[in-house]
Symmetry: C2
């Protein structure tokens, strides 16, 4: 059976949000799952069922002989796992944005990274076609295997080294986590004056649509880039009873003004 010979045998380590969606997406690909390991037995069984495999939750049950051991654990758990995991054969890969390729050297096996640049929630379906998958590997042969699996996930596979991957993850913290905190600030300001955050939703939609079409700096608007000191000092005064956001407003306005100045000098 030639079909079977071409199957890539995978053991999935971790059945959290990332593991769940990777498994689901790979369930239609020419791969065979040898096992799905999770410390949470329910998760192991749930995700294993999705890929017609068996769920395991003991380290010692992890099978030998897989082509790829794909580790989709949280960073600290992944580091702990990699420290003690020494399979006799196969490639070891993790899916983290922050962990260096080199940490897998200690597994004594060829290693790689398959990092899908996306935020995953169990409940929400994911369109993998639009997800950049960042890959890296210890050697050319391993990269072939890693890229093959990455292409089963998405057409957008990018070779990115560990430093770049880490910086991408850092950039994502600004672009998502900190962005969200701007919404928190807005919601807190509104709440203090008996207003609902919902009043901003149409504005946010329009902003996002525009921001999506433009270079971020070209899209920058607001009092700081206009140099409108009147509005800025009024706003700072209005934040007297929300001192943490006053501090944030001041810093952000200064950074925007400085960046504008330095653009002029170039």
């Amino acid at each position: 059976m030639q079909m079977t010979q071409s199957l890539i045998h995978i053991t999935l380590i971790g059945a959290g949000n990332v593991g769940y969606h990777l498994a689901q997406q790979l369930s239609n690909a020419p791969v065979a799952f040898d096992a799905v390991f999770s410390r949470n037995p329910d998760h192991a069984v749930e995700v294993a069922a999705m890929v017609h495999s068996k769920g395991i939750n003991h380290f010692s049950d992890i099978p030998e002989g897989s082509d790829l051991y794909l580790i989709s654990l949280a960073d600290q758990a992944a580091e702990d796992f990699i420290r003690i995991f020494k399979p006799k054969s196969g490639v070891v890969a993790h899916t983290s944005g922050s962990l260096d390729l080199a940490i897998m050297h200690q597994t004594m096996r060829p290693h790689g990274v398959i990092y899908p640049l996306q935020t995953f929630s169990r409940a929400k379906p994911v369109n993998f076609d639009a997800i950049p998958v960042c890959t890296e590997a210890s050697d050319t042969n391993t990269l072939l295997l890693i890229d093959k699996v990455a292409h089963f996930l998405s057409p957008d596979v990018r070779h990115i080294n560990s430093a770049q991957r880490r910086q991408t993850h850092l950039a994502a913290v600004f672009a998502c986590n900190f962005t969200n905190f701007m919404y928190v600030a807005a919601a807190d300001i509104l709440k203090k004056h008996d207003l609902e955050f919902d009043i901003l939703r149409p504005l946010l939609n329009e902003f996002f649509t525009k921001a999506n079409l433009m270079d971020p700096w070209a899209a920058q608007t607001g009092p700081a880039i206009r140099g409108d000191q009147n509005i800025i000092s009024t706003h700072l005064e209005m934040l007297n009873d929300l001192n943490e956001y006053k501090q944030l407003y001041r810093l952000l306005s200064t950074l925007i003004e400085n960046r504008k100045e330095s653009e002029k000098q170039v």
Copy 2:
């Protein structure tokens, strides 16, 4: 002709982005434009043509007898205009998020505010159905007129006082202008490491879709709210050569951590 009698006669002062879209939206409403004033003659003529009216660009040509003088100028220009504008009849209203209702007292006429909470670009069509229009007026009768015009713009008309309107505008600065600066930071970080901002677009889409469905604080994720000091200090180190963003990262992480702490104490 009863139809004609029920028309509200408007003189539009200002033909910038806001004036342009207000005129366009009101061109289908039972209103008659007596004139469109702009210091830029081309803008005056362009917007006037849209509402079958005449464009004027001299202060002295502003007609008497309109029911409503609708001022859609930038804040400073609006203030300057209001200082010298003393019509013999009619209601005076502005469309600003930041200017107090009370500044129009000096026009010696009943006054109001029609503030469409949206960002407008000339080129981009606007769906007014999804725009909250915040209204306020000097007296009940004037509010009736103001609300009538506001309802020609959008079904979502909200009575909001000057302080609330100002706070809403401040919240919008956080939710749009500062949010955009988080994208700028992300783009700068990526660029420094030969990566394109585009790599983040699918992530941003997913983030925005989720954020749109949730209370902002409930949607907060990232190293700071997880209390992941490892990642935080790695990120700070990675920002050694982008000191402005290091400062920003540190402040934001502290604010997120503090807010989490204070939530616990409640």
